[in-house]
């Protein structure tokens, strides 16, 4: 992997110096802080919305720290995943269309190093952001609800991170093969495919699709068999990355 270190350094500097430092981290940190607050205020918001509407009576249970965790995971699944998919489309395709890849790939930088550095830098940004976001969510939950046992939050978030890394690897492959917009669209298709698979029992037990329903189950304190989904997710990430390298090696720049 010639040139991996140098190119990874550029990627990390780019994260620190461009919009990439703000979009994903900004969104995640906002969601981390707002999730406990929103969970606490949801009953009052609903009550005030219902005021004046005669004949309707809704009883809302008192929210707990688990509602804050559930809000956080729901936000990760419904918002952050889509930001990942849409921004990931330009990961490699953007460098090709802007011409920056030409100057790099005519230097002693292998195409494998180019692809792996893209994956690693994106995965690092995602992991660090989620780690900080999770810590903030936990602290916020503790402050708002007075209790916040961290185990369920950690297990559920790590499970989400597994799905996110799988989709990041898929975006690496798609961005190596397609234009930015097409890659983003195809990524959304992959996510919907995974979501559909998560409705099918055998896929839930033996494939990465099992990670999707596992998040809610873990939050609820249920026992979840994660061995197969975890192992197959790791294998899928490696396979997608290998496919991305192979596709990029074949590509004409």
């Amino acid at each position: 992997m010639r040139g991996f270190g140098g190119f990874l350094g550029k990627e990390l500097m780019e994260i620190a110096r461009t919009w990439r430092a703000w979009v994903l981290p900004g969104l995640v940190l906002f969601l981390a802080v707002s999730s406990p607050v929103l969970a606490r205020l949801t009953p009052q918001l609903l009550e005030s919305a219902m005021q004046g509407q005669q004949g309707i009576e809704i009883t809302i249970p008192e929210p707990t720290y688990l509602d804050a965790y559930a809000q956080w995971i729901k936000n990760l699944q419904q918002v952050v995943i889509f930001v990942l998919l849409l921004t990931g489309g330009g990961m490699i395709a953007g460098e090709r269309s802007s011409g920056t890849a030409v100057l790099v790939l005519t230097k002693p930088v292998s195409r494998a190093a180019f692809v792996v550095a893209k994956f690693v830098s994106g995965a690092a940004l995602l992991s660090v952001t989620i780690a900080i976001g999770t810590a903030l969510c936990w602290a916020g939950t503790l402050a708002v609800f007075g209790e916040a046992p961290p185990e369920r939050l950690l297990l559920s978030t790590v499970t989400w991170l597994g799905v996110a890394l799988l989709l990041h690897a898929a975006m690496t492959l798609l961005s190596a093969r397609l234009r930015s917009l097409a890659a983003g669209g195809a990524g959304i298709g992959v996510f919907f495919g995974l979501s559909v698979l998560s409705l099918w029992g055998p896929a839930v037990r033996y494939s990465p699709a099992g990670l999707l329903p596992a998040m809610a189950a873990l939050l609820a304190g249920e026992e979840v068999a994660l061995a197969w989904p975890s192992v197959t997710t790791a294998i899928a990430v490696a396979a997608l990355l290998a496919a991305a390298i192979a596709a990029f090696k074949r590509a004409e720049i």
């Binding site: 140098g6 011409g99 030409v102 005519t106 002693p108 004409e252």
Partner: protein
């Protein structure tokens, strides 16, 4: 015996139905400043993309300094500037050169001094703005600087002057000329005047084939000709017919209405004969001037058409 800086044999490349390269043969001696000439769409960029490993040939063989193109060994010895260089807009020029130097394994003082020297050469020392705010000329000069970061044995430049204003073009040509004798320079262009100014050897590519390769002096001797821009008033049809038959006219192209471009082998004869013919056909002479011989006229000469 030292291998040629570039050696290409029977290179073919097709994009769908379009044949971009149709058996290109080329040899570039080490130490030369080599002009790779051809009109837009002739296959120059495709050839350079294959030489840099960015694209693959369908057939044929291409070697750089004796090594197969695209290998790591070749990339260490080569500098490359594409026709439209893409830089990271958020970087400054010193940061970019340090990044490129780092990819070649340069570090510490060597890296800093090399980057500083090249920034001075490119006239970008002290420029604090990010590359995204650079003019086209500044980007092109930075492009040449980054291509020299590894002190390459072979520098390949794709149309380095085509989109520049006269001042920017002059600056880039001066940079190329200054490299002569120190490194092999292989640059593509469709501007013959640029090649005449800095090249010692040229090859002309047309329709995916090399139609001529010679030293600049040899090319001028072999295809010695002058350009004439002519515009007349009146019915020029019989005048043009006679002009086409004149032995000293090697090509004639009607530009618009009664305006035409000629290449002539004997300028003195043309200067006497053309006004005489204009008067004989009762035409008015609006323009009669010698022009810089364009690449197109040389092409017409080389491919034997146009009369």
């Amino acid at each position: 015996m030292k291998p040629p800086a570039i050696e290409i044999r029977g290179l073919r490349k097709r994009y769908g139905d379009a044949l971009a390269l149709d058996g290109v043969d080329l040899a570039v001696s080490e130490g030369s400043v080599f002009g790779f000439l051809g009109p837009n769409g002739a296959g120059k960029t495709t050839t350079l993309r294959i030489l840099t490993g960015l694209a693959r040939a369908d057939a044929g063989d291409a070697r750089i300094l004796g090594e197969p193109v695209g290998s790591a060994a070749v990339r260490r010895m080569v500098g490359f500037l594409p026709d439209v260089p893409g830089f990271y807009a958020w970087m400054t020029a010193p940061e970019y050169l340090r990044f490129i130097g780092g990819l070649f394994g340069l570090a510490g003082r060597d890296l800093d001094s090399r980057a500083h020297m090249l920034l001075e050469m490119a006239g970008l020392a002290g420029v604090k703005t990010r590359i995204g705010g650079y003019s086209r000329g500044m980007k092109q000069r930075l492009g040449v600087a980054q291509a020299l970061m590894n002190a390459p044995r072979l520098l390949m430049l794709d149309e380095p002057t085509s989109a520049l204003d006269p001042l920017g073009r002059k600056e880039v040509l001066e940079m190329i000329a200054a490299l002569g004798g120190r490194t092999t320079v292989f640059f593509s262009t469709h501007i013959l005047a640029d090649a005449e100014r800095v090249c010692d050897t040229v090859a002309i590519l047309a329709h995916g084939r090399v139609v001529a390769q010679a030293s600049m002096a040899e090319l001028k001797t072999r295809h010695g000709a002058y350009g004439l821009a002519l515009a007349v008033e009146g019915d020029s049809h019989p005048f043009v017919q006679e002009l086409r038959q004149a032995p000293w006219v090697s090509s004639l192209r009607t530009v618009e209405g009664n305006e035409m471009r000629l290449t002539v082998t004997d300028l003195g004869v043309a200067r006497r004969a053309v006004p005489e013919m204009v008067a004989r056909y009762g035409l008015g002479l609006r323009t009669f001037e010698t022009t810089e011989l364009g690449l197109e006229e040389v092409f017409v000469e080389l491919v034997g058409g146009g009369r």
